[in-house]
Subunit: 139 residues, 2 copies
DNA sequence: AATATTTTGCAACAAAGTTGCATTGTTGTA
DNA sequence: TACAACAATGCAACTTTGTTGCAAAATATT
């Protein structure tokens, strides 16, 4: 896995540092989306808050991760698929946020339906965010 | 218009205060969605920040306004249609955020398509937010 | 008009995010 | 491998955003 992570960083012309390796690994391991706070906790204060902010920002710019909008003012981040590149995000899958456990899922199976907009409106990015109960919290 | 505003407040069992009247009027006049900051500016510091926070919170609870999630960590608020009531929001329309001018529109003409989720996932609310260029910024 | 109830503003605080700069770590080259 | 050039990090200080408790003011109720 370490190799995979180094590859991603190299491909994006980023120098390989402890913070970047660790944070990327966290995304990889968790599988789900994470908020800034989650990362801060999971890295057990190994890095400065500022470093985490800057690392996330860099990753978004390079198209390694993407943001997921939420209604509660807490942006989350998730790994992008391979098709995403610097400045171009292609995350046309649905995001699901569990109201119970707070987990954010990327529902890759479902793709975002095309929407016809009124005249003059040009879509650049489409975010479909569904909240409710996930399959673990549902009994 | 003042009557309409008073009606809305009465219907929702809210006492009629300057702050509530003014903030509701702002939503009515602007037509578009507003972030907390917009309201603070447009009311030209007539009210305390705290009052605005609490008023918005109350309005959301009563179903007078609804939140629109955005990818940049700045939740916006917009007037609900009549069908919305306390605790029940029915805002199945698309939201559009212009990357140029920042305006947030409620695209009432388009309704959010139903999405089939994997087993065990139960949807409570669906938000479809599209960003791009609006009909005013598009030349 | 007088009292009970809500709402507001203030102050103090907590959390989230940003910026500049010196120090440290990383990279490419000799 | 050692060195210089460059980039990333940590620290401190700060700004912005959001929250809470409480006394004062406004609103509603009788």
């Amino acid at each position: 896995m370490q190799d995979k992570i180094n590859d991603i960083l190299k491909k994006n012309h980023l120098s390989i540092t402890e913070a970047r390796k660790k944070i990327l690994a966290l995304f990889w391991e968790s599988g789900n989306a994470m908020a800034h706070g989650d990362i801060e906790q999971k890295s057990s204060e190994e890095f400065d808050r500022v470093t985490i902010y800057r690392t996330l920002q860099t990753f978004v710019e390079k198209g390694i991760i993407h943001t997921i909008p939420t209604a509660d003012n807490s942006v989350r981040y998730a790994l992008c698929k391979d098709e995403c590149g610097a400045g171009h995000h292609h995350d046309d899958h649905v995001h699901f946020i569990c109201d119970d456990c707070g987990t954010t899922y990327c529902i890759d199976e479902v793709s975002v339906p095309k929407v016809k907009l009124p005249k003059g409106f040009k879509a650049a990015q489409t975010d479909l965010v569904i909240s409710g109960t996930c399959n673990k919290c549902e009994q």
